[in-house]
């Protein structure tokens, strides 16, 4: 499926393995490239690992959920319900942060599958930049929330049990500034997520390649006929 012109270097390959894919055909040449790479190259490159897929979707739903809850909760009048929702939102943020650490670790140790050979360089670059920014924001958004909470004088206590240290003293102006930052980062991330989803759908329905199905493998059976 990925036979033609598959040798274009990709953004998400470790530099050491950005060798033209075709070189892998004669195995003796390919071997040194593979051993030099920090991670083993899987034989089947048509899908992400199950763990990567699991973490992607877990975080996708958790992030979209927390984002929506965040949008909803800010304008609520003060009530016990609001305090509860704020706490849940913070607990979710801490949890998401930990899963992002796991996910980045996994991502660094496991090569993602190849991008379609037909993808032009500018699209690869945009895809690469989008993924890097999304990773950065997955760290930055919960961090900014934690710092904002400290600056506003409310410590974050994970699930009401584990207190996170307050890195900032209570400071109303700084708290308001961090709220702006938290929102800016969130809306930037939302914009990138829309781009990300739009691109995935474009790949699936217009380009008819495997970019979406390698993250949703069960779609492949139904869509494989179209892909040919």
């Amino acid at each position: 499926m990925l036979a033609i012109g598959d040798g274009i270097p990709r953004w998400d390959m470790p530099l050491s393995i950005r060798a033209p894919h075709k070189l892998r055909v004669p195995q003796k040449i390919a071997l040194p490239t593979r051993t030099m790479s920090p991670t083993p190259a899987p034989d089947s490159r048509s899908s992400y690992t199950r763990v990567a897929i699991g973490l992607h979707w877990l975080l996708a739903f958790a992030i979209i959920g927390s984002f929506s809850v965040g949008l909803y909760m800010v304008d609520l009048p003060l009530s016990p319900q609001k305090l509860r929702i704020y706490s849940w939102h913070k607990w979710a943020g801490v949890t998401i942060f930990l899963f992002v650490v796991l996910r980045l670790g996994w991502r660094l140790l496991h090569r993602p599958p190849e991008l379609p050979a037909a993808m032009p360089a500018w699209q690869r670059n945009i895809a690469g930049a989008t993924h890097i920014l999304l990773y950065l924001l997955m760290f930055a958004v919960p961090l900014s929330g934690w710092l904002m909470s400290s600056a506003k004088g409310f410590q974050t206590v994970w699930f009401g049990v584990l207190p996170l240290p307050d890195l900032l003293e209570k400071d109303k102006e700084l708290g308001d500034l961090l709220l702006q930052l938290h929102m800016l980062l969130n809306f930037s991330m939302a914009a990138l997520v829309f781009l990300h989803i739009g691109a995935a759908l474009k790949h699936h329905f217009i380009d008819r390649d495997d970019v979406l199905t390698r993250m949703i493998p069960f779609l492949r059976n139904t869509a494989s006929g179209d892909c040919k």
């Binding site: 003060l78 016990p80 319900q81 305090l83 706490s87 410590q155 206590v157 049990v161």
Partner: protein, 205 residues
């Protein structure tokens, strides 16, 4: 000379009411140097707050601690409950009902020495039309002409009907509220001008 004269007259007056030689008495509360803070627990997270405006009468003679008195009036509208939202909320009827009950009041009933510079102060606390007995240990630190009275105690907000309605459940805002007070009082000029014996010493100098 004028001051000395006034001091002597005052000293004489004091000597009549209190025949024993009086030591220094701290009785001028310094609100600017004092603080009245509290820590509530919201979703098990400690949240700090304070009252900015309070006044009181205080008299404390280390030589006669049992005669010590304290009276404190707290303007509930001066609360800083951690955020603007919270400040507005706690003024409502469910909380302090600040319009109807603007002031909380503490009046001491007894002071017992606990040894060293620690004392047990008992008294009546009135908030929102409800009066409850309470007692708290107080540590007194003297520095020259002023003394600092410090301590902390736990109030149950439900005892005073603070936070009813939707807030009655302690799962969100705990019943226990820790109060941390630090009151600074100086010895008044009248007390500083010591009774006749002291005044005469001054004269001799």
């Amino acid at each position: 000379m004028k001051y000395l004269k006034a001091g002597m007259i005052l000293g004489c007056a004091l000597a009549i009411t209190a025949p024993t030689v009086q030591a220094i008495e701290f009785n001028q509360l310094q609100p600017g140097k004092s603080s009245l803070a509290f820590v509530s627990k919201q979703m098990n997270v400690p949240v700090e707050g304070s009252f900015k405006s309070f006044r009181g009468k205080l008299s404390f003679d280390p030589a006669k601690p049992a005669a010590a008195r304290a009276e404190l009036e707290i303007d509930l509208a001066s609360i800083d409950a951690g955020s603007k939202d919270a400040d507005d909320e706690v003024a409502s009827k469910d909380w302090f009902n600040t319009k109807a009950f603007p002031v909380a009041k503490f009046v001491s009933t007894s002071v017992k020495p606990l040894g060293g510079n620690r004392y047990e102060v008992a008294g009546k606390m009135s908030i929102k039309g409800r009066t409850r007995d309470l007692s708290t240990p107080v540590t007194v630190t003297q520095q020259g002409n002023s003394a600092t009275f410090e301590g902390s105690l736990v109030l149950m907000r439900a005892d005073y009907d603070i936070g009813g309605g939707v807030w009655a459940d302690f799962g969100t805002v705990a019943n226990e509220v820790q109060i941390k007070f630090r009151l600074v009082a100086s010895a008044s000029t009248a007390a500083a001008k010591k009774p006749p014996s002291n005044s005469s010493q001054e004269k001799n100098r």
